[in-house]
Amino acid sequence: MSAQLSVARLTKRFEAGTPNEKVALDDFSLEAGRGEFITILGSNGAGKSTLFNAILGKFLPDRGRILLDGADITYMKDHRRAASIGCLYQNPLRGTAPSMTIEENLAMAYTRNASRSFFAVNRRDSAHFRELLAGLGLGLEDRMKTKMGLLSGGQRQAASLLMATIAKPKLLLLDEHTAALDPATSVKVLDITRKIVAENGLTALMITHDLDMALDFGSRTIMMDRGRLVLDLSGRERADMTPRKLADLFHSRSGHDLSDRTLLAT
């Protein structure tokens, strides 16, 4: 399996040289194979979101390299690399433009792959969007002229997910993207996530605090602590893992417990 994403010895310090100095990423390395779906665990401040932000180019790392599909993107501008990276956050409002219609939002996200047309919203793309929306099973395909701001959080997150993946990104980053949704909606959005990732064979990283979910999703689970990789599970070892054993393992590797927010199914 060739590496789709390769993060090599990434280091990032915030407020370096001050008493508040914080090492967010400490010589962190990770390789993700093409089509691999990795779940990421770790307590708050472990560097999970910092890792995502580094990959997205929100800041430049102090040291290290980031390679996406063989290309070095370490110093590429954030909006340029965004063409090949989709990202979803906890807040469903972050990924969509509220005063524009669902159709227009999708057309925006589809810019790089869209059919050549004078108007942004055109029949060919719209037919494609309608099909994709229908696949969500939320009835959004009949509300394409509805303003995004009128949708519920779950609907908006599902639409965001579609937007993040519509341009067939080389990498999908999911930062606790269902944490702000109610349990039922969360399950629905997760099902959609699973489906979209599988259908498009996407390489994906998903941050979660839910141990069950971490083991249930994807093919590999890693744990981060203080900017380092402390655990990397896959294959047989992962298949035999239970949330309880995972929490204990984390404790022994990092010397402290996972945060209270981590849901532990007993």
């Binding site: 954030d78 909006h79 340029r80 690399r81 965004a82 063409a83 989709g86 990202c87 409002l93 972050r94 990924g95 969509t96 433009a97 509220p98 005063s99 524009m100 227009e104 939002n105 057309a107 925006m108 996200a109 810019t111 790089r112 869209a114 004078f118 108007f119 942004a120 919203v121 937007m163 993040a164 341009a167």
Partner: protein, 315 residues
Amino acid sequence: MSYLDMLISALGQGTIYAPMALGVFIAFRVLNTPDLTIDGSFVFGMTACAMVAIAGHPVLALFAGIAAGMLAGLATGFLQTKLRINAILSGILTMTGLYTVNYMVLGGQANLYLQRLATNESGIQAPVASKTVYRMFAVAESGEVSALVLSGLIVTLCVALLAVFFKTRPGIAIRATGDNEEMVRSSSINADFTRTIGIVIANGLVALSGAMLCQQQRYADLGNGSGMLVVGLASVIIGQALFGKRGVTAGLVSAVAGSEIYRIILQAAYRIDMPSYAVKLLSALIVTIALALPLAKEKSVAWSKRRAGERESSR
């Protein structure tokens, strides 16, 4: 003056200031950016237009005005996106700088008539009024009606072009920038660029208003720009109060309608002997009232609910 004449005069004014209302709409509503360049770019459009009109090219002068405003917008856009200066301050900086620029364009004076000295048949030098688009375009007996028709054509063209533009790919990118800049970046679009283009378009429109006013009144005056932002806002807000917050095309049309109604209100105020210097205060009041209206509505609803609730519990 008959009521019809007054109406035509008000509509004429409203149409001349309509492109500015469109510019304010784009900056404040579409881009969600408080752009204070407007007072400066209005005059910049005026002065640039005056110079080209005096040189004898009235049509070109309108385009020169638009170009000047776009340049001013480019400066503000640069300050906002590249130097990361606060949006309000960026506008103020450009506007302040423009005062000097405008003064220089007018050749070191505060106002300039659209005329040039020419030697007449008897060999005497006398000022001759420059050609303006409004003089060239006479479709009705009354100059005011002709002016209204011409301005109306220009504004209609602007609205049509903008309505189409905001449906194209660059157009929706600009709208999305005002709505959710992060989403624009994650769609792999340079949001700094779309923001700057938006500000450039807004100020180009504002300057077009300045250029039209310059040719209509046949002089350019540095004082004409002050308070323009409030006038533009008043128009946008009045339009919104009447038509509601709808899509971008409706927003453009309602900005124009707001500009017309604003002038009708002013005309009515003049009718009851309001002195002309009271215009600015009236504009400020209109904007304040319009902005406070939603809150007042909310409070009155809450008040009546509380009253009803108290009555119920005391029973």
